[in-house]
Subunit: 111 residues, 2 copies
Protein backbone atom coordinates (compact mmCIF):
# COMPACT_ATOMS: atom_id res chain seq x y z
CA UNK A 1 0.00 0.00 0.00
CA UNK A 2 1.76 3.10 -1.24
CA UNK A 3 -0.62 5.79 0.03
CA UNK A 4 1.10 8.57 1.95
CA UNK A 5 -0.33 9.60 5.34
CA UNK A 6 -2.56 11.07 6.48
CA UNK A 7 -5.26 8.50 5.81
CA UNK A 8 -7.57 6.50 8.07
CA UNK A 9 -7.49 3.07 9.68
CA UNK A 10 -10.27 1.08 11.33
CA UNK A 11 -8.85 -1.34 13.92
CA UNK A 12 -11.35 -4.13 14.60
CA UNK A 13 -10.30 -6.49 17.41
CA UNK A 14 -12.63 -9.44 17.97
CA UNK A 15 -13.07 -12.62 19.97
CA UNK A 16 -14.97 -15.29 18.04
CA UNK A 17 -17.67 -17.44 19.62
CA UNK A 18 -17.63 -21.10 18.60
CA UNK A 19 -20.87 -20.62 16.61
CA UNK A 20 -21.18 -21.31 12.88
CA UNK A 21 -17.52 -21.42 11.78
CA UNK A 22 -18.35 -22.04 8.09
CA UNK A 23 -20.91 -19.24 8.01
CA UNK A 24 -18.43 -16.89 9.63
CA UNK A 25 -15.67 -17.56 7.09
CA UNK A 26 -18.08 -17.07 4.17
CA UNK A 27 -19.33 -13.79 5.67
CA UNK A 28 -15.79 -12.51 6.34
CA UNK A 29 -14.72 -13.25 2.75
CA UNK A 30 -17.84 -11.58 1.38
CA UNK A 31 -17.29 -8.46 3.51
CA UNK A 32 -13.68 -8.18 2.32
CA UNK A 33 -14.85 -8.52 -1.29
CA UNK A 34 -17.47 -5.78 -0.77
CA UNK A 35 -15.09 -3.47 1.10
CA UNK A 36 -12.54 -3.68 -1.73
CA UNK A 37 -15.16 -2.28 -4.12
CA UNK A 38 -15.99 0.72 -1.92
CA UNK A 39 -14.76 4.19 -2.93
CA UNK A 40 -11.80 5.24 -0.81
CA UNK A 41 -10.78 1.70 0.24
CA UNK A 42 -6.98 1.47 0.44
CA UNK A 43 -6.18 -1.96 1.88
CA UNK A 44 -6.72 -4.50 4.62
CA UNK A 45 -4.58 -6.52 7.06
CA UNK A 46 -6.10 -9.38 9.02
CA UNK A 47 -4.97 -12.20 11.32
CA UNK A 48 -6.65 -14.58 13.76
CA UNK A 49 -4.79 -16.84 16.19
CA UNK A 50 -5.70 -20.17 17.76
CA UNK A 51 -7.09 -18.38 20.83
CA UNK A 52 -9.96 -17.01 18.69
CA UNK A 53 -8.70 -13.44 18.89
CA UNK A 54 -8.47 -11.59 15.60
CA UNK A 55 -7.21 -8.19 14.55
CA UNK A 56 -8.41 -6.72 11.26
CA UNK A 57 -7.23 -3.31 10.13
CA UNK A 58 -8.78 -1.67 7.07
CA UNK A 59 -7.38 1.50 5.53
CA UNK A 60 -9.44 4.30 3.99
CA UNK A 61 -8.88 7.64 2.28
CA UNK A 62 -11.28 9.53 4.54
CA UNK A 63 -13.73 9.27 7.40
CA UNK A 64 -16.52 9.74 4.85
CA UNK A 65 -15.39 6.56 3.08
CA UNK A 66 -15.52 4.68 6.42
CA UNK A 67 -19.02 5.99 7.10
CA UNK A 68 -20.24 4.97 3.64
CA UNK A 69 -18.87 1.43 4.11
CA UNK A 70 -20.53 1.22 7.54
CA UNK A 71 -23.89 2.01 5.92
CA UNK A 72 -23.76 -0.56 3.09
CA UNK A 73 -26.89 -2.69 3.60
CA UNK A 74 -25.16 -6.08 3.36
CA UNK A 75 -22.49 -4.87 5.79
CA UNK A 76 -25.18 -3.73 8.25
CA UNK A 77 -26.70 -7.23 8.16
CA UNK A 78 -23.26 -8.69 8.90
CA UNK A 79 -22.81 -6.27 11.80
CA UNK A 80 -26.14 -7.46 13.24
CA UNK A 81 -25.15 -11.14 12.93
CA UNK A 82 -21.77 -10.32 14.44
CA UNK A 83 -23.46 -9.17 17.63
CA UNK A 84 -26.05 -11.94 17.60
CA UNK A 85 -23.72 -14.89 17.14
CA UNK A 86 -20.20 -14.44 15.78
CA UNK A 87 -18.42 -12.32 18.36
CA UNK A 88 -18.05 -12.82 22.08
CA UNK A 89 -16.73 -9.27 22.18
CA UNK A 90 -15.23 -6.71 19.84
CA UNK A 91 -13.51 -3.34 19.96
CA UNK A 92 -13.66 -0.90 17.07
CA UNK A 93 -11.37 2.07 16.74
CA UNK A 94 -11.26 4.73 14.04
CA UNK A 95 -7.78 6.18 13.71
CA UNK A 96 -5.93 8.75 11.67
CA UNK A 97 -2.67 7.34 10.30
CA UNK A 98 0.02 9.95 10.93
CA UNK A 99 3.21 8.15 9.84
CA UNK A 100 3.97 4.92 8.04
CA UNK A 101 7.07 2.97 7.09
CA UNK A 102 7.78 -0.45 5.74
CA UNK A 103 10.56 -2.98 5.48
CA UNK A 104 11.15 -5.73 2.94
CA UNK A 105 13.83 -8.39 3.36
CA UNK A 106 16.27 -8.10 0.48
CA UNK A 107 16.22 -11.24 -1.62
CA UNK A 108 19.20 -13.08 -2.96
CA UNK A 109 19.31 -13.01 -6.75
CA UNK A 110 17.36 -16.01 -8.11
CA UNK A 111 20.28 -17.14 -10.32
CA UNK B 1 -9.13 -0.73 27.94
CA UNK B 2 -11.22 2.16 29.20
CA UNK B 3 -9.12 5.10 28.00
CA UNK B 4 -11.12 7.72 26.12
CA UNK B 5 -9.79 8.96 22.76
CA UNK B 6 -7.73 10.67 21.66
CA UNK B 7 -4.77 8.39 22.29
CA UNK B 8 -2.27 6.67 19.98
CA UNK B 9 -2.00 3.27 18.31
CA UNK B 10 0.97 1.61 16.63
CA UNK B 11 -0.19 -0.89 14.00
CA UNK B 12 2.59 -3.39 13.26
CA UNK B 13 1.79 -5.80 10.41
CA UNK B 14 4.40 -8.47 9.81
CA UNK B 15 5.17 -11.55 7.75
CA UNK B 16 7.35 -14.05 9.62
CA UNK B 17 10.24 -15.87 8.02
CA UNK B 18 10.59 -19.54 9.00
CA UNK B 19 13.77 -18.76 10.99
CA UNK B 20 14.16 -19.47 14.70
CA UNK B 21 10.54 -19.99 15.80
CA UNK B 22 11.41 -20.57 19.48
CA UNK B 23 13.67 -17.52 19.63
CA UNK B 24 10.96 -15.41 18.03
CA UNK B 25 8.29 -16.42 20.55
CA UNK B 26 10.62 -15.73 23.48
CA UNK B 27 11.53 -12.32 22.05
CA UNK B 28 7.87 -11.40 21.40
CA UNK B 29 6.89 -12.31 24.96
CA UNK B 30 9.82 -10.35 26.36
CA UNK B 31 8.95 -7.27 24.30
CA UNK B 32 5.34 -7.39 25.49
CA UNK B 33 6.53 -7.67 29.08
CA UNK B 34 8.85 -4.67 28.62
CA UNK B 35 6.24 -2.58 26.79
CA UNK B 36 3.73 -3.11 29.62
CA UNK B 37 6.20 -1.49 32.03
CA UNK B 38 6.72 1.63 29.88
CA UNK B 39 5.12 4.92 30.96
CA UNK B 40 2.07 5.70 28.84
CA UNK B 41 1.43 2.10 27.74
CA UNK B 42 -2.33 1.47 27.52
CA UNK B 43 -2.77 -1.99 26.04
CA UNK B 44 -1.97 -4.42 23.25
CA UNK B 45 -3.88 -6.61 20.77
CA UNK B 46 -2.08 -9.25 18.76
CA UNK B 47 -2.92 -12.12 16.40
CA UNK B 48 -1.00 -14.29 13.91
CA UNK B 49 -2.62 -16.67 11.44
CA UNK B 50 -1.37 -19.87 9.81
CA UNK B 51 -0.17 -17.89 6.78
CA UNK B 52 2.53 -16.27 8.96
CA UNK B 53 0.91 -12.85 8.82
CA UNK B 54 0.49 -11.10 12.14
CA UNK B 55 -1.11 -7.85 13.25
CA UNK B 56 -0.07 -6.33 16.57
CA UNK B 57 -1.59 -3.07 17.76
CA UNK B 58 -0.21 -1.35 20.84
CA UNK B 59 -1.95 1.63 22.45
CA UNK B 60 -0.19 4.60 24.03
CA UNK B 61 -1.08 7.84 25.79
CA UNK B 62 1.11 10.02 23.58
CA UNK B 63 3.57 10.05 20.70
CA UNK B 64 6.31 10.76 23.25
CA UNK B 65 5.51 7.46 24.97
CA UNK B 66 5.83 5.65 21.61
CA UNK B 67 9.17 7.33 20.95
CA UNK B 68 10.48 6.39 24.40
CA UNK B 69 9.49 2.74 23.86
CA UNK B 70 11.16 2.75 20.44
CA UNK B 71 14.42 3.86 22.06
CA UNK B 72 14.56 1.25 24.86
CA UNK B 73 17.88 -0.55 24.31
CA UNK B 74 16.53 -4.10 24.47
CA UNK B 75 13.75 -3.11 22.08
CA UNK B 76 16.29 -1.67 19.66
CA UNK B 77 18.17 -4.99 19.67
CA UNK B 78 14.89 -6.78 18.91
CA UNK B 79 14.21 -4.37 16.05
CA UNK B 80 17.62 -5.18 14.59
CA UNK B 81 17.03 -8.94 14.83
CA UNK B 82 13.58 -8.46 13.33
CA UNK B 83 15.14 -7.08 10.16
CA UNK B 84 18.01 -9.57 10.16
CA UNK B 85 16.02 -12.74 10.57
CA UNK B 86 12.46 -12.70 11.93
CA UNK B 87 10.47 -10.73 9.37
CA UNK B 88 10.14 -11.22 5.63
CA UNK B 89 8.47 -7.80 5.60
CA UNK B 90 6.71 -5.47 7.97
CA UNK B 91 4.65 -2.28 7.93
CA UNK B 92 4.55 0.10 10.86
CA UNK B 93 1.95 2.82 11.25
CA UNK B 94 1.59 5.40 13.99
CA UNK B 95 -2.04 6.47 14.35
CA UNK B 96 -4.14 8.81 16.44
CA UNK B 97 -7.23 7.03 17.76
CA UNK B 98 -10.18 9.35 17.18
CA UNK B 99 -13.15 7.23 18.23
CA UNK B 100 -13.59 3.89 19.97
CA UNK B 101 -16.47 1.63 20.89
CA UNK B 102 -16.82 -1.88 22.17
CA UNK B 103 -19.32 -4.69 22.38
CA UNK B 104 -19.62 -7.53 24.87
CA UNK B 105 -22.01 -10.44 24.39
CA UNK B 106 -24.46 -10.45 27.29
CA UNK B 107 -24.05 -13.60 29.32
CA UNK B 108 -26.80 -15.76 30.70
CA UNK B 109 -26.85 -15.77 34.50
CA UNK B 110 -24.56 -18.57 35.77
CA UNK B 111 -27.32 -20.11 37.93
Amino acid sequence: METKPPYYAVVFTTKRTSADAAGYVAMAQRMEELARRQPGFLGLDSARGDDGIGVTVSYWESEQAIRAWYLVAEHQEAQKLGKEKWYEWFQLRVCRVERARSFQQSQAAPF
